[in-house]
Symmetry: C2
Subunit: 320 residues, 2 copies
């Protein structure tokens, strides 16, 4: 990719929505009085934890794989991921009969590894603290001739993730704010493009764990700050630097990056399960955590929250 920002607009996102329709679910939007009372706003939850593969990642992965065309897809695909993107790439590849190789950290949640393997993908593991997954992914791609499916920093991926906000605003047109978890920024960038196009005055917030605040720091400095590998429980948000493509989009469209603590994330996962009866993974719960713990600025009556995924081992869940 050159330094020039590629054009991704609502047109690309609407095309992506058409392209991924055979594979991705249209997930429900839920509401809950207990949450509203506790948070002091009316909250709407776009539940990507009910998505194919258990997270929003199928949107970007399938938009990418389907955009490749049959000749390129036939040579296979490869991806590096903490789990959800891997699973999504495996499902998207399987749906067109393409071979998939996934580069996953050795300590990824077991449920994610197993779910990926179930879709016929080959899995290569690496040490998250010693090796760089990007390099391993590129090497596999080079050796096999397979196409690398970027987890966030590509226009096709970003356009696919943006379909989340497109559906959300079709279901709930009059939100005041939209809150989206931020790892590499693909979901936030895509959603911000869709949202600003459909409803220019919508206030958009990214949410990160305090322990993985690379986008927060970058937002403050205006530069793509890099942090050491973060130890957050939110394993899907452990990117160490915003993307070269995602970051300028986020800077332009997003009002602020909100931070949540590990305890706030855990308490929110518990709240969503016990009161709203759905399972969000820690990464998937950060936007809800921000609203539940009063991180929104004043003046917002109706908040749209993206629950980005629900893949968490029940054994891990039982611990908190």
């Amino acid at each position: 990719m050159s330094g020039e920002e590629p054009a991704i607009g609502i047109g690309e996102i609407r095309e992506a929505a058409e392209r991924i329709r055979p594979l991705a679910h249209r997930t429900p939007v839920l509401t809950n009085r207990s949450f509203d009372q506790a948070a002091g706003v009316r909250a709407y939850f776009k539940c990507e934890n009910f998505q194919r593969g258990g997270s929003f990642k199928i949107r970007g992965a399938s938009n990418f794989v389907y955009s490749l065309g049959p000749d390129k897809a036939r040579r296979g695909v490869v991806a590096y991921s903490s789990g959800n993107h891997a699973q999504a790439v495996a499902i998207a590849a399987e749906s067109v009969g393409a071979a998939a190789t996934l580069v996953m950290p050795a300590d990824a949640p077991r449920s994610k590894v197993e779910a990926t393997r179930a879709h016929g993908a080959a899995i290569v593991t690496y040490d998250r603290f010693k090796e760089r997954r990007e390099e391993i992914g590129r090497r596999v791609a080079k050796e096999s001739g397979a196409e690398l499916v970027p987890p966030y920093d590509h226009p096709w991926t970003i356009a696919g993730q943006g379909t989340t906000a497109l559906e959300f605003l079709e279901a709930e047109a009059d939100l005041d704010a939209l809150l989206v978890p931020v790892g590499g920024g693909g979901l936030l960038a895509g959603c911000s493009i869709a949202a600003k196009s459909i409803k220019p005055d919508l206030r958009i917030f990214g949410v990160e764990p305090e322990l993985a605040n690379d986008t927060y720091l970058s937002f403050a400095s205006g530069l793509r700050e890099e942090i050491p590998m973060p130890a957050t429980l939110a394993d899907g948000l452990r990117a160490t630097q915003p993307g070269a493509i995602t970051f300028p989009i986020i800077r332009r469209n997003v009002e602020a990056i909100l931070l949540v603590s590990e305890d706030e994330i855990k308490a929110t996962v518990r709240f969503l399960l016990s009161r709203m009866k759905f399972l969000a993974e820690p990464s998937g719960a950060v936007a809800a955590a921000a609203v539940l713990h009063g991180k929104l600025p004043a003046g917002i009556a109706k908040a749209g929250i993206v629950i980005s995924g629900g893949n968490v081992d029940l054994e891990e869940l039982a611990r908190y």
Copy 2:
């Protein structure tokens, strides 16, 4: 109630749907490939665990309370319940400013007791093994002049519960079968009336725990058999005898009562949580358990499953 069966038809159920609209959610219908692969059928889940109060009970309770009219409602309402009906009556009463008294077993799940109290209801507890809740409920009603809201055996309650199937078939018109949990039979009776009216060839099944098989035994003998207080984990299905009004409706409309073991219920709660990312309480999971464990007869391609509720303590959940 006299022995004569009151007329409850699709008209009453459609009226109930209009009446309860301000209070009850239209719950989503979810699907999941993992479940389908494991069960060998295409399954559709009507998720009443996302309903107001965490279960379908709000449908019958609000239809009853709203049907009373303002003069009677002003004198207050009383109900006896293992928890979900109590919570629903509290919410329905609160919504019209009526006082509610709830008679609950002393060992009801804590989450249910707390949720009921949060809606301003007065709570009277009793010993499930020594006292009869019906008598306590009637005594409170007599002493206070409040109206007793029957948990299942009343036309208004049954019509309210039937709105579940009405919505389900509006969302998924071409189901082959409908599976509904059975306690006292209000949900099954109401759903069977709606379903048979909309789609006469739909095959309807009730599902009970093996340990609480009063409707199964009654279905076999043709008489309303009574069993000792059952020890099933499914605390919402511990009724000891089918209702006088519900049972004839069930006999007429239902093909069979399917039974599931306690282990099958637990395994299903785990499956729904880990794979489908939602929380069903044991009572709410029995219909899914029947499909997942091969209890359906042959010839059914598309099965509609009612997940009737999701109120379970996380501490209890962590135990299995």
